[in-house]
Symmetry: C2
Subunit: 143 residues, 2 copies
DNA sequence: ATTAATTCCTACCTTTCCGCTAGGGTTATA
DNA sequence: TATAACCCTAGCGGAAAGGTAGGAATTAAT
């Protein structure tokens, strides 16, 4: 498994905020209820999004969160990179992994690099706006 | 991380056998030494390959393993599917996963299905023979 | 001033999987 | 008869996933 619940939940938050996009801020409580995620757990996920300036937040009464930019400005990849430890398909490509001593002679390294590239490119090719459209437009998309 | 050591070791076994391809059978011991993998651990991995009839085996003196077909006949995907529990990028796509109650309305399911497809297609597009060429031909491949 | 909300921190817990290690018995073949 | 594959079981240490729990500080609308 490549994508953890953290990443999936982060995407659901983004979609939720995109669908309820108004001038108002959306409270964590509301998102948690709609998405059926514990408030406490969601808090830790949303904090990452705020820190990365993906979301704007407002404290106090009437506070909450909103997207800083329109949904089409956020790729799925950009969100997942914030919440996932790593999206590398194998350990040796993870950030901070010790450079493998055998890398120069490795028969499989190019394979993993290629796989990594394919995954990145796909995740960068889809935006939050794309996710909104799918699933509402009559479910007639084909994968 | 998507690919475990089991899968990576399986590929290294396939490459090793492809590179030492003769009429003779190659012993587990030899593979283990060259690849620096414990014999016991390797045994469990190779057993999967034999069971799936990817490898031919011979017992007794002079025994060991060899590829049944030429290296270009095996895709990386076909090998990984044997050793990996699952190559699904998210839990809900794993075989045997309970069908998600929200699947029909899920905003992200198509995303994961698309990602899954991209991964599968890539892994099916590379063969063991491809892995052999890379890394020997002067390291001038570009990813 | 009060209330409602985010923010920030720490600590802990359970479960699952990974990557092995260890041991020993059985069977086939040169 | 030595040598190899075959087959099974058991366990284990570490890491990560997926949370839960609780509290304290800050901010803003009313």
């Amino acid at each position: 498994m490549l994508i953890s619940t953290k990443g999936r939940y982060a995407l659901r938050v983004m979609i939720d905020l995109a669908e309820h996009r108004t001038e108002d801020f959306i409270s964590l409580k509301g998102i948690a209820q709609r998405q059926e995620i514990s408030e406490k757990y969601l808090e830790s996920i949303i904090r990452m999004l705020v820190k990365a300036r993906v979301l704007e937040s407002l404290r106090g009464k009437g506070g909450g969160y909103k997207l800083r930019k329109p949904p089409e400005a956020y790729t799925v990849g950009s969100i997942l990179y914030l919440t996932e430890e790593s999206l590398a398909p194998v350990a040796c490509l993870e950030e901070g992994a010790d450079a493998c001593a055998k890398a120069a002679k490795c028969r499989t390294l190019p394979l993993w690099q290629g796989l990594d590239k394919v995954i990145r490119e796909y995740l960068e090719s889809v935006t939050i706006a794309d996710l909104m459209e799918r699933g509402t437009a009559g479910d007639d998309y084909v994968i």
